[in-house]
């Protein structure tokens, strides 16, 4: 009797592993493609899928008056004491005419961008403040939706503000951000405080706490 020959090493199962992975990925792709085909228009709608509900995204804005100087990062605001330009445009939420200008009432104008996480955080804070305190009696609040970039998510801005139950009249800025540029701003969210004479009291940028927001209202009243 001859001794048993040594066992040959088992063949590697690497080709099977690679084939299984390819099959799983292909199956995944097919399922997603099938779901997207039978669904309501695919899943990339974060940017453009709400086209039917976009409403006003950008609007024509007529600006009367000189643009404010660029906001300073530190020190006194160079726009303080200068006239806030009058903005005539349309309401982002319902398309009705909206004017923000010298009407004898102090005001705070907030500039927001739909894709900005700080704006996304600020809107609920102010919405909650208004829900608790009501609209300020002596100060008018306005917002301007600007810097609309559909590809950056949370689009369209009207859907976002409706979702947040945003109670503040909001103007749709032009595609190139005319109202934003006329205010001399460079970041979001930004606030322009205007007194009863239509003069800029101060401008500020960044997320505000409710205390800081109340300070802006007090500054507007003078």
């Amino acid at each position: 009797m001859s001794p048993n020959p040594p066992k040959a090493p088992a063949r590697s199962r690497a080709p099977w592993i690679i084939g299984s992975v390819v099959a799983v990925v292909a199956l995944l792709f097919a399922v997603v493609a099938l779901l997207s085909g039978t669904g309501s228009g695919g899943s990339d709608g974060g940017a453009t899928g709400d086209a039917g509900r976009m409403g006003v995204v950008n609007g024509p804005v007529t600006i009367t008056g000189a643009a404010l100087p660029a906001i300073a990062q530190t020190g006194a605001d160079p726009a303080a004491g200068k006239a806030f330009p009058t903005l005539k445009g349309s309401n982002l939420l319902d398309g009705s005419p909206l004017e923000i200008g010298a009407d004898g009432r102090p005001k705070v104008v907030m500039y927001v961008a739909h894709w900005c996480p700080h704006c996304q955080a600020e809107i609920p804070v102010i919405t909650k403040w208004i829900a608790e305190h009501g609209n300020p009696k002596d100060v008018d609040l306005y917002a301007v939706s600007t810097a609309v970039v559909p590809e950056r998510g949370n689009f369209p801005p009207a859907s976002w503000l409706e979702r947040e139950k945003w109670p503040v009249p909001t103007m749709a800025d032009t595609e190139d951000g005319s109202a934003f540029k006329a205010a001399g701003l460079s970041s979001f969210p930004s606030f322009v405080v205007v007194d009863a004479n239509g003069k800029v009291v101060t401008r500020t940028s960044g997320e505000l706490s409710t205390v800081q927001f109340e300070q802006l209202l007090a500054q507007a009243k003078g």
Partner: protein
Amino acid sequence: MNLFFTLLAFLAGGAAVALLVLSLVSAPAVLRLRRDVADAALPLALAVAATCTAGSLYYSEVMHYTPCKLCWFQRICMYPLVVLFTVAVARKDRGIRFYALPLSLIGGAISIYHYQLQRFPQQHSAVCTIEAPCTAKEVEQFGFVTIPMMALAGFTLIAALMFCLHVASRTPLTDQEAS
């Protein structure tokens, strides 16, 4: 495509965990499986890197999302891996793990930083500028899967494949285990 990439990210994350377990457990039953996975590691890593690269180009060139600074840093770590793995597969060069593992770990670390920045944007600054901000979330699936998380899943799977390859290369099977 967002859903597809998200599901791929889940798959990659699960596979990475399984690979780490496979690499760390030394029971005889798993040794042969580890060897077989290690044999497949280079083409699989090439596929992962190529998919991540294609996905990143899809978002910037097809969807027109502007990559932010941190996105670019992650691209710097991911894109070369496609070339490195292509050469390694052609040459059957397992030594590639010594180059690919650091790149994927650095890329994964940047992805983690980027993801937590999206979750807690206040730590970056209190404002957004008009340039592509690192805090913005162009894609968000299931409320938490964003592009940096997808990148993290890719980097983690590549790192896990390289780790498995490393462990398998250092512990060759005996004839009995191999048969």
